[in-house]
Protein backbone atom coordinates (compact mmCIF):
# COMPACT_ATOMS: atom_id res chain seq x y z
CA UNK A 1 0.00 0.00 0.00
CA UNK A 2 1.02 3.57 -0.52
CA UNK A 3 2.68 5.81 1.99
CA UNK A 4 -0.44 7.90 2.22
CA UNK A 5 -3.17 5.60 3.41
CA UNK A 6 -5.90 8.19 3.28
CA UNK A 7 -5.18 8.78 -0.38
CA UNK A 8 -5.29 5.06 -0.99
CA UNK A 9 -8.67 4.61 0.65
CA UNK A 10 -10.18 7.61 -1.12
CA UNK A 11 -8.81 6.53 -4.50
CA UNK A 12 -10.05 3.00 -3.92
CA UNK A 13 -13.54 4.34 -3.28
CA UNK A 14 -13.32 6.51 -6.41
CA UNK A 15 -12.31 3.50 -8.48
CA UNK A 16 -15.14 1.45 -7.06
CA UNK A 17 -17.58 4.17 -8.06
CA UNK A 18 -16.15 4.27 -11.58
CA UNK A 19 -16.49 0.50 -11.82
CA UNK A 20 -20.11 0.72 -10.72
CA UNK A 21 -20.81 3.23 -13.48
CA UNK A 22 -18.84 1.46 -16.21
CA UNK A 23 -19.76 -2.19 -15.99
CA UNK A 24 -17.31 -3.19 -18.71
CA UNK A 25 -14.18 -2.53 -16.67
CA UNK A 26 -12.29 -5.77 -16.22
CA UNK A 27 -9.36 -4.36 -14.26
CA UNK A 28 -8.54 -1.03 -12.73
CA UNK A 29 -5.65 0.04 -10.57
CA UNK A 30 -3.54 3.07 -9.70
CA UNK A 31 0.20 3.10 -9.18
CA UNK A 32 2.76 5.78 -8.46
CA UNK A 33 5.89 7.04 -10.14
CA UNK A 34 8.24 4.67 -8.35
CA UNK A 35 6.10 1.67 -9.22
CA UNK A 36 4.37 1.61 -5.88
CA UNK A 37 0.80 0.34 -6.25
CA UNK A 38 -1.65 2.63 -4.48
CA UNK A 39 -4.88 0.84 -5.27
CA UNK A 40 -5.13 -2.39 -7.15
CA UNK A 41 -7.44 -5.17 -8.11
CA UNK A 42 -6.94 -7.88 -5.57
CA UNK A 43 -7.33 -10.50 -8.29
CA UNK A 44 -4.32 -9.25 -10.27
CA UNK A 45 -1.18 -11.02 -9.06
CA UNK A 46 1.54 -8.68 -7.85
CA UNK A 47 4.05 -10.03 -10.37
CA UNK A 48 1.65 -9.03 -13.19
CA UNK A 49 1.32 -5.58 -11.69
CA UNK A 50 5.08 -5.25 -11.54
CA UNK A 51 5.41 -6.19 -15.21
CA UNK A 52 2.79 -3.60 -16.05
CA UNK A 53 4.69 -1.00 -14.06
CA UNK A 54 7.88 -1.99 -15.89
CA UNK A 55 6.24 -1.76 -19.32
CA UNK A 56 4.90 1.71 -18.63
CA UNK A 57 8.04 2.79 -16.85
CA UNK A 58 10.05 2.11 -19.97
CA UNK A 59 7.51 3.93 -22.13
CA UNK A 60 7.42 6.94 -19.83
CA UNK A 61 11.18 7.14 -19.91
CA UNK A 62 11.32 7.13 -23.69
CA UNK A 63 8.47 9.56 -24.18
CA UNK A 64 10.45 12.62 -23.10
CA UNK A 65 10.88 13.81 -26.74
CA UNK A 66 7.09 14.09 -27.09
CA UNK A 67 6.78 16.12 -23.90
CA UNK A 68 6.09 13.19 -21.57
CA UNK A 69 3.10 10.88 -21.56
CA UNK A 70 -0.43 12.11 -20.87
CA UNK A 71 -2.18 8.89 -21.78
CA UNK A 72 -1.75 5.59 -23.58
CA UNK A 73 -4.53 3.64 -25.27
CA UNK A 74 -3.88 0.07 -26.32
CA UNK A 75 -6.56 -1.31 -28.60
CA UNK A 76 -6.65 -5.07 -29.02
CA UNK A 77 -9.03 -7.62 -30.52
CA UNK A 78 -10.39 -8.62 -27.11
CA UNK A 79 -10.28 -5.41 -25.17
CA UNK A 80 -8.72 -2.05 -24.56
CA UNK A 81 -6.18 -0.94 -22.01
CA UNK A 82 -6.10 2.68 -21.02
CA UNK A 83 -3.31 4.34 -19.06
CA UNK A 84 -3.72 7.86 -17.77
CA UNK A 85 -1.30 10.10 -15.95
CA UNK A 86 -2.57 12.24 -13.08
CA UNK A 87 0.48 13.97 -11.68
CA UNK A 88 2.39 11.30 -9.86
CA UNK A 89 -0.51 8.84 -10.00
CA UNK A 90 -1.04 6.51 -12.97
CA UNK A 91 -4.40 4.91 -13.63
CA UNK A 92 -4.72 1.71 -15.64
CA UNK A 93 -8.09 0.40 -16.77
CA UNK A 94 -8.79 -2.64 -18.90
CA UNK A 95 -12.15 -2.81 -20.61
CA UNK A 96 -13.98 -5.22 -22.89
CA UNK A 97 -14.06 -4.42 -26.64
CA UNK A 98 -17.56 -2.94 -26.70
CA UNK A 99 -17.16 -0.49 -23.85
CA UNK A 100 -17.64 3.21 -24.30
CA UNK A 101 -14.09 4.48 -23.88
CA UNK A 102 -14.97 8.12 -24.35
CA UNK A 103 -17.40 7.97 -21.46
CA UNK A 104 -14.94 6.13 -19.24
CA UNK A 105 -12.10 8.51 -20.07
CA UNK A 106 -14.29 11.53 -19.40
CA UNK A 107 -15.35 10.08 -16.07
CA UNK A 108 -11.83 9.18 -14.93
CA UNK A 109 -10.36 12.46 -16.15
CA UNK A 110 -12.83 14.33 -13.99
CA UNK A 111 -13.17 12.09 -10.96
CA UNK A 112 -9.58 11.05 -10.21
CA UNK A 113 -8.02 14.55 -10.44
CA UNK A 114 -10.90 15.92 -8.35
CA UNK A 115 -10.34 13.35 -5.63
CA UNK A 116 -6.58 13.96 -5.71
CA UNK A 117 -7.02 17.72 -5.55
CA UNK A 118 -9.42 17.50 -2.62
CA UNK A 119 -7.11 15.11 -0.79
CA UNK A 120 -4.15 17.37 -1.35
CA UNK A 121 -6.10 20.29 0.01
CA UNK A 122 -7.33 18.54 3.15
CA UNK A 123 -4.27 16.41 3.79
CA UNK A 124 -1.10 17.58 2.07
CA UNK A 125 0.82 15.24 4.39
CA UNK A 126 -0.02 11.62 5.25
CA UNK A 127 -3.03 11.41 7.50
CA UNK A 128 -2.29 8.10 9.04
CA UNK A 129 -1.12 9.53 12.34
CA UNK A 130 -2.15 12.92 13.63
CA UNK A 131 -1.99 14.45 17.06
CA UNK A 132 -5.09 14.84 19.13
CA UNK A 133 -6.79 18.13 18.18
CA UNK A 134 -5.91 19.82 21.45
CA UNK A 135 -2.26 20.77 21.26
CA UNK A 136 -0.11 23.85 21.64
CA UNK A 137 3.18 24.89 23.29
CA UNK A 138 6.51 23.17 23.95
CA UNK A 139 8.10 21.35 26.87
CA UNK A 140 11.15 19.18 27.26
CA UNK A 141 10.86 15.72 25.79
CA UNK A 142 11.28 12.36 27.46
CA UNK A 143 12.73 9.10 26.17
CA UNK A 144 11.80 8.94 22.48
CA UNK A 145 14.64 6.95 21.01
CA UNK A 146 12.47 4.51 19.11
CA UNK A 147 10.17 7.05 17.57
CA UNK A 148 10.38 8.72 14.22
CA UNK A 149 10.46 12.50 13.94
CA UNK A 150 6.76 12.80 13.33
CA UNK A 151 5.76 10.47 16.10
CA UNK A 152 8.16 12.22 18.44
CA UNK A 153 6.52 15.54 17.72
CA UNK A 154 3.07 14.09 18.20
CA UNK A 155 4.13 12.50 21.42
CA UNK A 156 5.73 15.69 22.72
CA UNK A 157 2.66 17.80 22.15
CA UNK A 158 0.44 15.14 23.63
CA UNK A 159 2.59 14.89 26.70
CA UNK A 160 2.65 18.62 27.16
CA UNK A 161 -1.05 18.87 26.88
CA UNK A 162 -1.88 16.12 29.25
CA UNK A 163 1.03 16.47 31.61
CA UNK A 164 -0.94 18.70 33.95
CA UNK A 165 -4.16 16.73 33.66
CA UNK A 166 -2.90 13.25 34.44
CA UNK A 167 0.38 13.52 36.27
CA UNK A 168 0.08 9.99 37.57
CA UNK A 169 0.67 8.32 34.19
CA UNK A 170 3.99 7.33 32.72
CA UNK A 171 6.10 9.74 30.65
CA UNK A 172 4.36 8.48 27.50
CA UNK A 173 0.78 9.56 27.00
CA UNK A 174 -1.65 7.82 24.68
CA UNK A 175 -1.84 9.54 21.35
CA UNK A 176 -4.92 9.66 19.20
CA UNK A 177 -4.64 8.61 15.60
CA UNK A 178 -7.01 9.47 12.84
CA UNK A 179 -8.50 6.47 11.06
CA UNK A 180 -11.18 5.92 8.46
CA UNK A 181 -14.28 3.98 9.42
CA UNK A 182 -14.78 0.65 7.64
CA UNK A 183 -17.54 -1.92 7.90
CA UNK A 184 -16.68 -5.49 8.64
CA UNK A 185 -15.45 -6.43 5.22
CA UNK A 186 -16.64 -9.17 2.93
CA UNK A 187 -19.08 -11.92 3.69
CA UNK A 188 -21.65 -11.94 6.44
CA UNK A 189 -19.92 -14.99 7.85
CA UNK A 190 -16.69 -13.06 8.27
CA UNK A 191 -18.64 -10.27 9.94
CA UNK A 192 -20.32 -12.75 12.27
CA UNK A 193 -16.96 -14.08 13.36
CA UNK A 194 -16.04 -10.69 14.74
CA UNK A 195 -17.11 -9.30 18.07
CA UNK A 196 -19.92 -6.82 18.00
CA UNK A 197 -18.59 -4.93 21.03
CA UNK A 198 -15.06 -4.44 19.69
CA UNK A 199 -13.44 -2.33 17.03
CA UNK A 200 -10.67 -3.70 14.84
CA UNK A 201 -7.47 -1.79 14.14
CA UNK A 202 -4.60 -3.09 12.03
CA UNK A 203 -2.09 -5.25 13.83
CA UNK A 204 0.81 -2.83 13.28
CA UNK A 205 -0.96 0.04 15.01
CA UNK A 206 -1.86 -2.13 18.00
CA UNK A 207 1.75 -3.32 18.22
CA UNK A 208 3.02 0.25 17.98
CA UNK A 209 0.79 1.28 20.87
CA UNK A 210 1.93 -1.69 22.92
CA UNK A 211 5.59 -0.91 22.20
CA UNK A 212 5.04 2.66 23.28
CA UNK A 213 3.64 1.51 26.59
CA UNK A 214 6.38 -0.99 27.36
CA UNK A 215 4.50 -3.99 26.01
CA UNK A 216 1.33 -3.25 27.99
CA UNK A 217 -1.62 -4.93 26.31
CA UNK A 218 -4.03 -2.47 24.79
CA UNK A 219 -7.52 -3.77 25.40
CA UNK A 220 -9.63 -0.65 25.08
CA UNK A 221 -9.69 2.42 22.91
CA UNK A 222 -11.59 5.65 22.97
CA UNK A 223 -13.22 6.64 19.71
CA UNK A 224 -14.00 10.27 19.12
CA UNK A 225 -15.99 11.41 16.11
CA UNK A 226 -15.49 14.72 14.36
CA UNK A 227 -18.76 15.82 15.97
CA UNK A 228 -17.25 15.28 19.39
CA UNK A 229 -19.12 12.07 20.27
CA UNK A 230 -16.99 9.60 22.15
CA UNK A 231 -17.24 6.02 23.21
CA UNK A 232 -14.99 3.47 24.80
CA UNK A 233 -14.83 -0.02 23.39
CA UNK A 234 -12.68 -3.09 23.17
CA UNK A 235 -10.03 -3.19 20.49
CA UNK A 236 -8.83 -6.20 18.51
CA UNK A 237 -6.13 -6.41 15.84
CA UNK A 238 -7.06 -7.01 12.20
CA UNK A 239 -4.98 -10.00 11.25
CA UNK A 240 -5.69 -9.80 7.53
CA UNK A 241 -2.51 -8.43 5.89
CA UNK A 242 -4.67 -6.66 3.34
CA UNK A 243 -5.44 -4.06 6.00
CA UNK A 244 -1.86 -3.64 7.12
CA UNK A 245 -1.04 0.07 7.54
CA UNK A 246 -4.16 1.04 5.68
CA UNK A 247 -5.37 3.58 8.20
CA UNK A 248 -8.78 2.08 8.83
CA UNK A 249 -10.78 1.07 11.86
CA UNK A 250 -13.48 -1.55 11.45
CA UNK A 251 -16.43 -0.62 13.61
CA UNK A 252 -19.53 -2.77 14.17
CA UNK A 253 -22.76 -1.38 12.82
CA UNK A 254 -24.22 -0.95 16.31
CA UNK A 255 -21.33 1.26 17.46
CA UNK A 256 -21.46 3.21 14.19
CA UNK A 257 -25.15 3.93 14.85
CA UNK A 258 -24.42 5.02 18.42
CA UNK A 259 -21.70 7.39 17.25
CA UNK A 260 -23.75 8.49 14.22
CA UNK A 261 -20.94 7.71 11.82
CA UNK A 262 -20.67 5.62 8.73
CA UNK A 263 -18.11 4.00 6.46
CA UNK A 264 -15.60 6.45 5.01
CA UNK A 265 -15.78 8.98 7.84
CA UNK A 266 -12.80 9.89 9.98
CA UNK A 267 -12.55 9.25 13.69
CA UNK A 268 -9.87 9.71 16.33
CA UNK A 269 -8.86 6.50 18.02
CA UNK A 270 -6.89 6.65 21.26
CA UNK A 271 -5.61 3.68 23.24
CA UNK A 272 -6.68 3.53 26.86
CA UNK A 273 -3.99 2.57 29.34
CA UNK A 274 -5.26 1.08 32.55
Amino acid sequence: MAENDMHAVALKNALEEIRKTCQNIQHAFIFKEKGEIVVGDTEIPERVMLRVVDAFGSLLEKAVPIGGVESVTLTCSEGTLSFQVFGEHYLVTVTSPKSNLNYLNTLTRILIPTVLTILDKISPTPLKKVPSPKDSSQTPSTSTENLTGNEEQVKKSDEEHRGDVKPETSTTEPQAIQLMVEDFEGSRIRGLLKRSDAVYVDNETVKLWEDMFNGKKIEYVEIETLNGKTTRCKVKPIKDLKYSAKGVVQIPEKIQLTLEIKKGELVLVKPIIE
Binding site: S58, G68, T75, C76, S77
Partner: protein, 132 residues
Protein backbone atom coordinates in the same frame (compact mmCIF):
# COMPACT_ATOMS: atom_id res chain seq x y z
CA UNK B 1 9.17 -41.29 -51.66
CA UNK B 2 11.94 -39.04 -52.97
CA UNK B 3 9.58 -37.69 -55.63
CA UNK B 4 7.02 -36.81 -52.97
CA UNK B 5 9.70 -35.07 -50.92
CA UNK B 6 10.86 -33.10 -53.91
CA UNK B 7 7.28 -32.01 -54.63
CA UNK B 8 6.86 -30.87 -51.02
CA UNK B 9 10.11 -28.93 -51.17
CA UNK B 10 9.07 -27.29 -54.42
CA UNK B 11 5.70 -26.37 -52.93
CA UNK B 12 7.37 -24.90 -49.86
CA UNK B 13 9.81 -22.88 -51.94
CA UNK B 14 6.95 -21.56 -54.06
CA UNK B 15 4.93 -20.67 -51.00
CA UNK B 16 7.88 -18.91 -49.45
CA UNK B 17 8.58 -17.01 -52.67
CA UNK B 18 4.91 -16.06 -52.86
CA UNK B 19 4.99 -14.83 -49.27
CA UNK B 20 8.05 -12.68 -50.02
CA UNK B 21 6.27 -11.19 -53.03
CA UNK B 22 3.15 -10.45 -50.95
CA UNK B 23 5.29 -9.02 -48.17
CA UNK B 24 7.20 -6.76 -50.55
CA UNK B 25 3.96 -5.68 -52.17
CA UNK B 26 2.47 -4.96 -48.78
CA UNK B 27 5.50 -2.94 -47.73
CA UNK B 28 5.47 -1.02 -51.01
CA UNK B 29 1.76 -0.35 -50.64
CA UNK B 30 2.29 0.78 -47.09
CA UNK B 31 5.06 3.16 -48.14
CA UNK B 32 2.81 4.69 -50.77
CA UNK B 33 -0.03 4.93 -48.28
CA UNK B 34 2.23 6.54 -45.67
CA UNK B 35 3.47 9.08 -48.21
CA UNK B 36 -0.18 10.04 -48.81
CA UNK B 37 -0.86 10.18 -45.11
CA UNK B 38 2.16 12.38 -44.50
CA UNK B 39 0.59 15.15 -46.53
CA UNK B 40 -2.46 15.21 -44.23
CA UNK B 41 -2.66 18.11 -41.84
CA UNK B 42 -1.35 17.24 -38.39
CA UNK B 43 1.00 14.46 -39.48
CA UNK B 44 4.59 15.10 -38.43
CA UNK B 45 6.12 11.99 -39.93
CA UNK B 46 6.32 8.22 -39.87
CA UNK B 47 8.61 5.28 -39.33
CA UNK B 48 8.03 2.05 -41.24
CA UNK B 49 10.21 -0.86 -40.27
CA UNK B 50 10.48 -4.56 -40.98
CA UNK B 51 13.20 -7.17 -40.69
CA UNK B 52 14.82 -6.12 -43.97
CA UNK B 53 14.30 -2.41 -44.36
CA UNK B 54 13.23 0.82 -42.73
CA UNK B 55 11.67 3.97 -44.14
CA UNK B 56 11.69 7.08 -42.02
CA UNK B 57 10.26 10.45 -42.86
CA UNK B 58 10.16 13.08 -40.16
CA UNK B 59 9.77 16.83 -40.41
CA UNK B 60 12.43 17.24 -37.72
CA UNK B 61 15.23 14.72 -38.47
CA UNK B 62 17.12 15.63 -35.29
CA UNK B 63 14.54 13.65 -33.33
CA UNK B 64 14.91 10.57 -35.51
CA UNK B 65 16.69 8.32 -33.01
CA UNK B 66 14.54 9.35 -30.06
CA UNK B 67 11.35 8.80 -32.05
CA UNK B 68 12.58 5.43 -33.32
CA UNK B 69 13.32 4.30 -29.76
CA UNK B 70 9.91 5.49 -28.59
CA UNK B 71 8.19 3.74 -31.48
CA UNK B 72 9.91 0.48 -30.68
CA UNK B 73 9.16 0.84 -26.96
CA UNK B 74 5.48 1.50 -27.62
CA UNK B 75 5.10 -1.60 -29.77
CA UNK B 76 7.00 -3.75 -27.29
CA UNK B 77 4.86 -2.46 -24.42
CA UNK B 78 1.75 -3.18 -26.48
CA UNK B 79 2.75 -6.83 -26.95
CA UNK B 80 3.66 -7.21 -23.28
CA UNK B 81 0.47 -5.62 -21.96
CA UNK B 82 -1.76 -7.49 -24.38
CA UNK B 83 -0.24 -10.75 -23.19
CA UNK B 84 -0.48 -9.82 -19.50
CA UNK B 85 -4.18 -9.01 -19.71
CA UNK B 86 -5.10 -11.58 -22.40
CA UNK B 87 -6.31 -8.87 -24.74
CA UNK B 88 -5.73 -10.84 -27.93
CA UNK B 89 -4.16 -9.43 -31.04
CA UNK B 90 -2.85 -5.87 -30.83
CA UNK B 91 -4.62 -3.46 -33.19
CA UNK B 92 -2.73 -0.34 -32.26
CA UNK B 93 -1.25 1.66 -29.41
CA UNK B 94 -1.66 5.41 -29.08
CA UNK B 95 0.79 7.28 -26.86
CA UNK B 96 -0.38 10.83 -26.22
CA UNK B 97 2.35 13.19 -25.14
CA UNK B 98 1.98 16.80 -24.10
CA UNK B 99 3.17 18.00 -27.49
CA UNK B 100 2.93 15.08 -29.89
CA UNK B 101 1.01 11.83 -30.10
CA UNK B 102 2.30 8.59 -31.56
CA UNK B 103 0.15 5.94 -33.17
CA UNK B 104 1.93 2.62 -33.55
CA UNK B 105 0.69 -0.59 -35.14
CA UNK B 106 1.87 -3.70 -36.88
CA UNK B 107 0.66 -4.71 -40.32
CA UNK B 108 2.04 -8.07 -41.33
CA UNK B 109 5.77 -7.91 -40.76
CA UNK B 110 5.76 -4.14 -40.81
CA UNK B 111 5.94 -2.03 -37.69
CA UNK B 112 4.53 1.43 -38.28
CA UNK B 113 4.56 4.55 -36.14
CA UNK B 114 2.87 7.77 -37.08
CA UNK B 115 3.94 10.95 -35.29
CA UNK B 116 1.10 13.39 -35.07
CA UNK B 117 0.12 16.76 -33.78
CA UNK B 118 -2.36 16.74 -30.91
CA UNK B 119 -5.32 17.62 -33.11
CA UNK B 120 -4.78 14.86 -35.70
CA UNK B 121 -7.75 12.62 -36.44
CA UNK B 122 -6.69 9.10 -35.46
CA UNK B 123 -9.75 7.32 -36.85
CA UNK B 124 -9.29 8.91 -40.25
CA UNK B 125 -5.61 7.91 -40.34
CA UNK B 126 -6.30 4.35 -39.27
CA UNK B 127 -8.94 4.05 -41.99
CA UNK B 128 -6.48 5.28 -44.57
CA UNK B 129 -3.77 2.90 -43.40
CA UNK B 130 -6.00 -0.13 -43.56
CA UNK B 131 -7.56 0.58 -46.95
CA UNK B 132 -5.20 -0.98 -49.43
Amino acid sequence: MTKKKNMEETAMTEASAQSIVIETTTTEHLKTRLEDIKSINGVIGYILRNAKSAAIDLKDPTKLIEYAVLSSSALDAAEELSELFSLGEVDNILVEGKEVKVLSLTIGENRISLFLEKNADIEKLLKKLHTF
